[in-house]
């Protein structure tokens, strides 16, 4: 690992100022992706600003049909939270399937979203549920936030403070984890709110995306059979030693059907 300066921020304001003052600084919370990336010398920030201890960034609250989760809330907290299990059980389930127990004990929702790994789990929930990403500067709709491979709408000096999820009538997440790495080869988060059905696919492409044909079909009839005749466009999907584009397209459809089959409400 290259050298860097470690700074522990105690308030959101201080963290924002440190981030604005150092162009090559990175925020550190759980560090479950950032530290391995730095060890592999794929990142060499000048400063690490530790935001893990900032109280304003942590916590879970359900109020007025919305579930709010602080950016530094750990996966284990979301997975075990009685509040999340009651409001959006599919989200608690998703969190329980991220990485492994030690990773869930440290990794955070804000870190996962800011990193936007194409095989990460959380982006699919945020996009499907139409959540709002609240930063230290503004509010960003999920549809605008994710911009492909490790890219987001976050600008310089901007940090995620919390994520606000509208509580759906029904939701479910299903993924096919790679047997060795555990990362999603394809994952599908399906949710229904009013007449609106949204399907977000992770793992299969260079970034999370909505499968709009499936959304339209499921909006007419919310049953696995509705997507039977459809297929995910394979053109821009990932292709590697683990699977072809067509394999991933099919897997995304299978995961969507399974998710529809286990839709649950609060």
């Amino acid at each position: 690992m290259h050298t860097f300066s470690y700074v522990k921020a105690t308030t959101l304001k201080q963290a924002g100022e440190l981030l604005a003052a150092n162009a090559d600084a990175k925020l550190l919370s759980g560090g479950m992706t950032l530290i391995p990336t730095m060890k592999a010398r794929l990142a060499q920030p000048s400063h690490l600003i530790d935001i893990g201890g900032i109280a304003e960034l942590s916590g879970i609250e359900a109020k007025d049909g919305k579930l709010t989760i602080g950016a530094a809330t750990k996966h284990v907290e979301v997975a075990k939270s009685a509040v999340v299990k009651k409001a959006i059980p599919a989200l608690a389930y998703l969190a329980s399937q991220i990485g492994d127990p030690q990773v869930r004990n440290r990794g955070t929702i804000g870190g996962s979203l800011a990193n936007n790994d194409p095989a990460a789990d959380y982006p699919s929930a945020v996009l499907s549920l139409g959540a709002t990403i609240v930063t230290n500067k503004r509010e960003i709709a999920a549809d605008d936030f994710f911009q492909g491979l490790f890219s987001t709408a976050l600008g310089a000096g901007e940090m995620i403070v919390k994520v606000v999820f509208p509580v759906p009538a029904k939701a479910a997440y299903e993924k096919f984890p790679h047997p060795a790495s555990g990362f999603a080869m394809a994952g599908s988060f399906v949710s229904q709110r009013g007449k609106d059905v949204r399907v977000a696919i992770t793992g299969a492409g260079p970034g999370v995306f909505r499968w709009k044909d499936a959304e339209a079909a499921l909006g007419k009839k919310l049953a696995a059979a509705s997507v039977e005749g459809l297929s995910v466009d394979a053109t821009d999907l990932n292709e590697d030693m683990h699977g072809t584009k067509e394999y991933r397209a099919n897997l995304a459809k299978v995961m969507t059907k399974r998710a529809v089959g286990k839709l649950s409400g609060k």
């Binding site: 690992m1 290259h2 050298t3 860097f4 300066s5 470690y6 522990k8 550190l28 560090g31 479950m32 530290i35 391995p36 730095m38 060890k39 592999a40 690490l48 530790d50 893990g52 284990v76 990485g99 492994d100 127990p101 030690q102 990773v103 004990n105 440290r106 555990g182």
Partner: protein, 155 residues
């Protein structure tokens, strides 16, 4: 340089380390507790698992400075004198190790897992130990040991 003050196995320590020093290196090189192993060094194998404030973490993926003020338990802190921790005892009795390299991390992970899930099913054990790899593939006896420890700890 950073000043790291922490407790390891109940004993207070203070070290001046580089900001980039990993917790596992502080434990092994500075505190000279070499029971915690470095296997893959890429947060996959779990050999470096220790407890930080009672929670299992991979110490190769935590900065030492992030552990400042924390209470760390390593494999050396599990036995009470000559009396092994029930998980250690179960690993011994079930022969839940072959080469033994993954064992300290495995025992720390199992102990963390059983806190949350004192009466696990086989499926729950598989899911709960996904963060630890036994390169000898001695999983059958490890699962047996988890079940035996669970029974012993329920008494």
């Amino acid at each position: 340089m950073a000043k790291v003050e922490l407790k390891i196995n109940g004993k207070a320590h203070s070290y001046d380390v580089e900001d980039r020093t990993l917790l596992v290196n502080l434990i092994r090189d500075h505190a000279q507790l070499t029971g915690t192993h470095v296997g893959c060094d890429t947060s996959q194998c779990g050999a470096c698992t220790v407890h930080m404030n009672g929670v299992a973490v991979k110490s190769c993926t935590v900065l030492a400075v992030q552990a400042s003020g924390a209470d760390i338990t390593t494999i050396e802190g599990m036995a009470k004198g000559d009396k092994l921790h029930p998980v250690q005892q179960a690993f011994t009795e079930c022969h839940a190790l072959q080469c033994g390299f993954c064992t300290p991390g495995m025992i720390m992970a199992v102990t963390g897992f059983l806190k949350d899930n004192p009466k696990p099913t086989d499926e729950e054990i598989y899911h709960g130990l996904e963060g630890n790899i036994c390169r000898c593939t001695g999983y059958i006896n490890i699962v047996k040991a988890v079940k035996q420890a669970s029974k012993a700890m329920a008494k």
